[in-house]
């Protein structure tokens, strides 16, 4: 293996830097004696070519959308256009400090303003902040706004947030961090929201309900407006988890469904690359009654006066608007993940007013893939030991769908995890595994709009092959990956969380 800490060249191998602008002895005098560092950190001493090879070697041991089909449900792993990477290298964003005066920032402020407006329009909300830097932080921010809203109405005693049992784990975690107790309601048979359970759960202690639509089963919650009515009647607020926003843009929006607040995942819907786990960006939108609680500041504009400097040349002067006394303040120390905002801007500009095509193709791909998986031709069907079950009995799904491997497990012991690991051998990233937890042995599949029919046909065919294979081959998978199944229990028991120094691996 390549081990970065095995490079122990001469000092100064990997860098060239100018000298300090004062003599070193003089500089040392400016550092108090009692606190100067005695021994330098044990970092590698590697040359640039050694580093290039090390990280290239590592990248070859990693699987991205660029490597192959990535049907990871709820994560919207769509193609990341490379133009967007080029744009964020421009000095007009890369070399900008957020505390520069507005006269230096007209371009960025105009993009922030345009993105606020675009997101508000697509979601049916009145105001948007781009400050939260991840979906979970967006949830947290919106629930904090709702918390302050209730307090301002003298209803700070509302201490419960309702989430369906199919919700993303971040929903209850975010509400809990705000100090709320969580009321989890079971889904109805078929996986949709159970209105009777919701009626039983709401009360004068309800602060909010958090829900995504389409649900994590890929189902459109057809009774969503009634759910909103029930929650509002009890005095609660409706929060829309935007993880599945890719399914509905231009077709409907959370505002029409009755929501008061929503977060957007720019790293899902708007193609900010996931980067191995981040960065993300989780702006939120709210209806007018929540606007004054948003984090501060937001981008605003006015018609340019003749004495104003030129700006971006669209006739407006852009500025930061303080949200005011009721604002919850800051959730990130600057203005959010501006790089993600600019990439998302470049992404949406490609579609413009045709943005709904994105959702149409995502939903088409999802339904088509589900259809061809569940309806193999006769010859293929004969070879299959056991077909998976639908995660939800439904005619139509939205941008993603779930399959249950429970019938396989019952027949020959092959689990959802086994199928997922076997798909790695076929050159795919595995679907999302064991989520939502209400579907036994669940695989959750989201093809996104950027895959072709050919890719979907091949994937269905390969999944059918897995279902036809000798169970032993599947349960012992993967066979062709760089490492075989990794012992997660050993990792958790031994907790080797850093390089131990010296030659590694040891014996």
């Amino acid at each position: 293996m390549s081990d970065i800490f095995s490079f122990r060249g001469a000092p100064g191998t990997g860098w060239s830097q100018p000298s300090p602008i004062l003599e070193e002895s003089e500089v040392r005098k400016s550092i108090p004696d009692g606190i100067s560092r005695k021994s330098l950190p044990g970092w590698p001493r590697a040359s640039e070519p050694e580093i290039v090879r090390h990280y290239t070697w590592l990248s070859n041991r990693n699987f991205g959308i660029d490597t192959g089909f990535y049907p990871l449900g709820s994560c919207t792993m769509k193609h990341n256009p490379r133009l967007n990477e080029r744009i964020v290298q421009l000095p007009g964003i890369d070399r900008i400090h957020p505390l520069q005066p507005e006269s230096h920032l007209q371009g960025l402020l105009s993009i922030f303003f345009e993105m606020q407006e675009m997101l508000a329009e697509c979601s049916g909300m009145d105001s948007v902040t781009l400050q939260p830097v991840a979906g979970a932080q967006g949830e947290f921010t919106a629930i904090r706004c709702i918390q302050e809203y209730h307090k301002s109405n003298g209803e700070g005693n509302r201490d419960k947030v309702i989430v369906p049992d199919s919700a993303h784990g971040t929903n209850p975690a975010s509400a809990s961090m705000c100090g709320y107790d969580i009321v989890e309601i079971p889904s109805a048979e078929g996986g949709c929201l159970d209105l009777d359970a919701l009626r039983a759960a709401v009360g004068d202690d309800t602060a909010a309900m958090m829900i995504t639509n389409p649900s994590t089963l890929g189902l459109f919650e057809v009774e969503i407006t009634e759910a909103a009515r029930i929650v509002h009647e009890a005095g609660g607020q409706m929060y829309y988890d935007g993880a599945n926003f890719n399914a509905i843009i231009g077709k409907t929006d959370p505002g029409r469904m009755g929501f008061d607040a929503v977060h957007y995942n720019l790293h899902k819907t708007f193609s900010q690359p996931h980067g191995g786990g981040g960065p993300g960006s989780g702006p939120i939108g709210v209806r007018e009654h929540l606007s004054r609680f948003l984090p501060t500041p937001v981008a605003a504009r006015k018609v340019r006066e003749p004495e104003d400097p030129e700006g971006v040349g669209d006739g407006f002067w852009y500025f930061w608007e303080d949200v005011g006394q009721s604002s919850i303040g800051k959730v990130q120390q600057w203005h959010g993940n501006a790089g993600a905002v600019v990439r998302a801007w470049a992404f949406y500009r490609r579609y413009g007013r045709e943005l709904e095509l994105m959702s149409e193709h995502a939903v088409l791909n999802s339904n088509y893939l589900r259809h061809i998986i569940m309806n193999p031709d006769k010859e293929t069907a004969e070879g299959i030991h056991c077909m998976p079950a639908e995660g939800a009995e439904t005619e139509l799904v939205m941008h993603e769908f779930t399959l249950s491997m429970a019938p396989l497990k019952e027949l020959n012991g092959v689990t959802g995890k086994d199928v997922a690991k076997r798909l790695l051998d076929y050159g795919y990233m595995s679907p999302t595994l064991y989520f939502p937890q209400i579907v036994p042995e669940c695989l959750m599949i989201e093809p996104t709009e950027t895959e072709s029919k050919e890719v979907l046909d091949q994937f269905a065919s390969d999944l059918h092959s897995v279902l036809s294979e000798d169970p032993e081959t599947v349960t012992s998978a993967p066979h062709t990956t760089i490492v075989k199944r990794v012992d997660e229990v050993w990792a958790a028991r031994n907790l080797v969380l850093r390089h131990p120094g010296g030659d590694f691996p040891g014996q």
Partner: protein, 443 residues
């Protein structure tokens, strides 16, 4: 494809959406654009901004106008890294897992603590979640339950983040004051004994290197966490907080890996001692083996996290800043120990040289003339800081931060921030600009 499913139009796919909530009218957005049109627009629009590289700049305040070696971005944006998801499938994610395990090691070495996660959103959320973590660990035994003490020089935007993150846990924040030289009042730090945590920054927000902080742990005792916010580059010359009793170290990783990039994406450093391991936020990579006995890496301690523990998770963090942490790891690998030291010496030299130059101007005072500084220092100018900065701006110099934006009573003070790239010409431009301002105000 529609035909294969027995459908005739795209509308059939959306027939589950009730008619009453369908959007009838098209989105009022601009016409679709081609790649070259978007690129032209981006160049024009972003080109209207003033970049820090266009002129002498002394604006830092927690972000660095750094130099990032060319190889960093080129390697980190290789598609296999850039377009991958969280490495939940270790068999096909060994590259990112190992890179993050190496990152954890480099951070541990930098701050001298045994455990690091794979990044927080930024320095402020890292500080905030360190505080809530400390309360979870210490509250049961604490004499001052649900109480933490924070230096009064922690800047207000960070305090605002901390308040948002601590309000739900019912944490009360008390402040520890500083003396006239900007050093923490150790006598008032004694009142923090028995509380859950103390949070201080070294250097503090005025750039002051406070040697007294090295005594803080012996004052507050073992049962109260000492959380230290750092300037990561400063640890090339300053003793790491792990050596002087810090239980947790947090800070901004941005100087290693990425430009100031309008404040994001950047990444927060989070490191701690073993006591906090099971209550810490964020993802952690551990070493393990595969079924054939080959070395392998995997995410571990996941039972702390939201996707498993849901509302009982130690944090809601899911997406983090892994790719930027990867850029940091590559940058740190290039520097090596001596490169880090050189970088820190360059920043220290810029600080000292700028301070000397400014202190020669009559009518401009150093706010803390006795202090040692790293990267930043505060000056007091005649008139208002905002007017002085406008004057400098009109002379093509970004002069620093108007401290009146942070603290009442400092509206005649500027926070001057330097970096490794500050040149003698830059310093001369600031010097001349300030003299020009003095002439304008004092005649």
């Amino acid at each position: 494809m529609l035909e294969a499913m027995g459908m005739s139009s795209m509308d059939d796919l959306f027939s589950n959406i009730p008619v009453g909530i369908r959007r009838a009218e098209p989105l009022p957005l601009p016409d679709p654009q081609s790649e070259e049109e978007i690129w032209a627009d981006a160049q024009r629009i972003l080109g209207s901004n003033v970049s820090l590289d266009d002129r002498p700049s002394f604006l830092s305040a927690g972000l660095s106008r750094n130099f990032v070696p060319s190889v960093v971005g080129m390697l980190a944006t290789r598609g296999e890294f850039l377009t991958s998801y969280t490495p939940y499938q270790p068999e096909v994610s060994q590259g990112m897992l190992q890179a993050m395990w190496e990152f954890q090691t480099m951070i541990c070495e930098l701050v001298d603590l045994p455990i690091s996660n794979v990044s927080m959103y930024d320095a402020s959320t890292a500080a905030a979640e360190a505080i809530t973590c400390a309360v979870r660990v210490n509250n049961r035994k604490a004499l001052q339950k649900d109480i933490v003490y924070i230096s009064s020089l922690v800047p207000p935007h960070r305090m605002s983040v901390i308040r948002n993150y601590t309000i739900g846990a019912g944490i009360e924040i008390r402040t520890i004051e500083h003396d006239d030289s900007g050093n923490l009042l150790l006598s008032s730090a004694e009142s923090a004994t028995g509380s859950c945590a103390v949070y201080v920054e070294q250097p503090n927000s005025l750039g002051i290197v406070d040697i007294g902080l090295t005594e803080l742990k012996s004052i507050i005792g073992d049962e109260t966490s000492l959380i230290v916010g750092i300037d990561a580059v400063s640890l090339g010359v300053l003793e790491p907080p792990g050596k002087w009793g810090a239980d947790m170290v947090v800070g901004e990783g941005q100087p290693f890996g990425i430009g100031p990039t309008f404040g994001g994406p950047i990444y927060g450093i989070f490191a701690c001692s073993e006591k906090y391991l099971r209550q810490m936020p964020g993802r952690v990579v551990g070493q393990s083996w595969d079924t054939e006995g080959s070395l392998a890496f995997t995410l571990t301690l996941s039972t702390r996290e939201q996707h498993i523990r849901r509302h009982r998770a130690t944090s809601n963090i899911c997406s983090n800043e892994t790719l930027i942490a990867l850029m940091g790891a590559i940058h740190m690998s290039l520097l090596g120990p001596e490169g880090l030291e050189r970088l820190a010496l360059r920043v220290a030299a810029s600080t000292e040289a700028t301070k000397r130059s400014i202190s020669r101007i009559n009518s401009v005072e150093l706010v803390n003339p006795e202090s040692s500084n790293f990267r930043e220092f505060a000056i007091r100018v005649p008139g208002s800081a905002s007017d002085a900065l406008l004057h400098l701006d009109s002379n093509g110099v970004i002069g620093g931060l108007d401290l009146g934006m942070w603290w009442e009573g400092m509206s005649d003070c500027i926070l001057v921030g330097v970096d490794e790239r500050t040149s003698e010409d830059d310093i001369a431009a600031l010097h001349d600009g300030l003299r020009g301002w003095i002439e304008e105000v004092c005649g």
